[in-house]
């Protein structure tokens, strides 16, 4: 697909032919000449937040549930609830609260989703991603923690470990394979995750200063793309495939390197 191009011929239909590296050169030209660089920036910012904020918070929450502290079962249900609720419904509520309600109280057009500059907009969107994103991860961390042998925890307590030490010296090393898997899954999805931007904005232009993520760009382009590329129109199927191939070529070795490094330098259960 990435090496072909389509031409529409009356009475015949869409005819494909070999395009060589034309689609790749088209994509590379766009990559270095337009807002796509900004999109990579936004993608990495959002990914960094997921990795360094959402993941540790998720693990702390799971540990709380694992330790069966107060109301842990209730919190487990609440944390999973957003997973079941429609993202469309939750974005509508969130948008009304952060955009319309703030606008009505302050009179500033756009509310938190556009009225206070790009940084506030970005934080508002990232906060939503964090807010809605715990669900399944919490359950999987909890599942991994539940699999730890009780005798290890008892031994840790006999050695005088408190809860914090137990978390860092026993739980984290024990669930390290799960953490590695999550990081690898996140890397695999880094360029396909639209971070709810499409759900929030649809085909509307993003607020000033927000470039969107690569995943969002792919969704938006694919929605209106077709076999034949028209000047200044959405990218063609072949061009989008070429972009996909290029990103995959970058992501695969990154995944492998991260996996190797994590296995080499990660803690051992011993």
């Amino acid at each position: 697909m990435a090496f072909s191009k389509y031409d529409f011929i009356d009475g015949v239909g869409n005819v494909s032919s070999f395009a060589g590296f034309d689609n790749f050169s088209f994509v590379l030209n766009k990559l270095f000449s337009s807002s796509l660089i900004g999109m990579f920036r936004d993608t990495f910012i959002m990914y960094a937040v997921l990795l360094f904020v959402a993941m540790p918070i998720g693990m702390f929450f799971s540990f709380y549930i694992y330790k069966k502290f107060m109301f842990s079962e209730f919190f487990r249900v609440i944390l999973f609830l957003p997973q079941v609720l429609s993202a469309v419904a939750m974005t509508t509520i969130y948008k009304t609260l952060t955009n319309d309600l703030v606008m009505m109280y302050t009179g500033i057009d756009g509310g938190l989703l556009g009225g206070y500059g790009s940084v506030v907009t970005m934080i508002t969107i990232i906060f939503y991603t964090l807010w809605m994103g715990f669900g399944a991860n919490i359950l999987l961390y909890y599942g991994a923690m539940s699999g730890i042998n009780d005798s290890i925890i008892e031994a840790c307590h006999l050695d005088g470990c408190n809860v914090i030490k137990e978390f860092f010296y026993v739980i984290l090393p024990s669930i390290y394979p799960t953490i590695t898997t999550f990081i690898l899954i996140d890397i695999a999805g880094i360029f396909t995750n639209q971070m709810n931007l499409h759900t929030f904005y649809g085909q509307k232009p993003l607020p000033e200063g927000i470039n969107g993520t690569i995943g969002y760009y792919l969704v938006k382009q694919t929605q209106h793309s077709d076999f034949v590329y028209l000047e200044n129109g959405p990218w063609s199927y072949s061009q989008l495939s070429a972009l996909g191939v290029l990103i995959t070529v970058v992501t695969v070795p990154v995944s492998l390197i991260v996996r190797t490094l994590m296995e080499k330098f990660g803690p051992s259960e011993d």
Partner: protein, 333 residues
Amino acid sequence: MEIKKKKRQFKINVYAVIVGVLLALYALSIFFALGWGFITSLKYRTDFEGGNYMGLPNMEHWHKIADLVGSLKPGDELYERYSNFTHLFGNYANAIARISVLDHAKYYTGFNLDIYVDRMANGSFFGIITNTLLYVGGTALFATLAPCIAGYLCAKFKFKFSGIVCTFVLFVMAMPLVGNTTAMLTLLKRLSLYDTIYGMWITHCSFANSYFLIFLACFKGLSNTYAEAAQIDGASYWKVMWQIYVPLASKIFSTIFLLQVVAQYNNYTTSMYYLPTYPTLSYAIWKIQFSGVFNSKPELLATSLMLSLPMLIIFVIFKNKLMGNISLGGVKE
């Protein structure tokens, strides 16, 4: 010793208190968002826009509309416009009456991409509900059946190809494929499966996912003696699979099926990409957010919450099943 014990207790409490407070705040935010959304969805437009952002619905606004509708005759323009708004759940009644998708899909299909199709969406409320039931029911069923069958075959028939299949699944799962939607669109159009519900059922017959590994582990854990006993009694391979092993894995099957139902029901992008003339409820409501059909926030919130209601009911009934601890060893309950 006692001092040490007290110190430890204190540290435990600090951790529990900090994370507990954070979790309580999180729970509160979820309840607030849902509660506020629901209460606002019960307000009439003028009530909300008049400044009642946080309070309970002011019934006077509904009564006024009910009085107005009472003074009109069916068929009048004003009657048609306001007839749904005569009670507290007026926004919901209006949402059901007015949800529609009027898309016009134009595309080329067929092996040579030479068959031109220009079709209107089946986008009335009942059309959307039918599409949703067919899409969600079918895709969830096939997306559960495929890994179940593949997992069974690889677990119970040990030869080289089983190993190849397992390696293939692991490879696909680890491979960060980006931008394959366009290739799928092309394939579906060439096979004339694009814009068909059964086309979506077929594409969801995939076992290259983590559910395959769950079924594989489950079937590996079931003893072969059941099959041997049944075969001595004259059961065929087909019977052994469907009448012995699949029922034994029914707990995992139903859990994965429910997870698939939730995922497919909430997924609006599949309908957007692949089913332009068969809009599902999720896609229809996502689209309505931007179409201007409902221009007041209470109406939009009512429409959105209506979308969440079926999944909320499923969650309340099957909470333990949905949140069951799925692991490679099966479901721990």
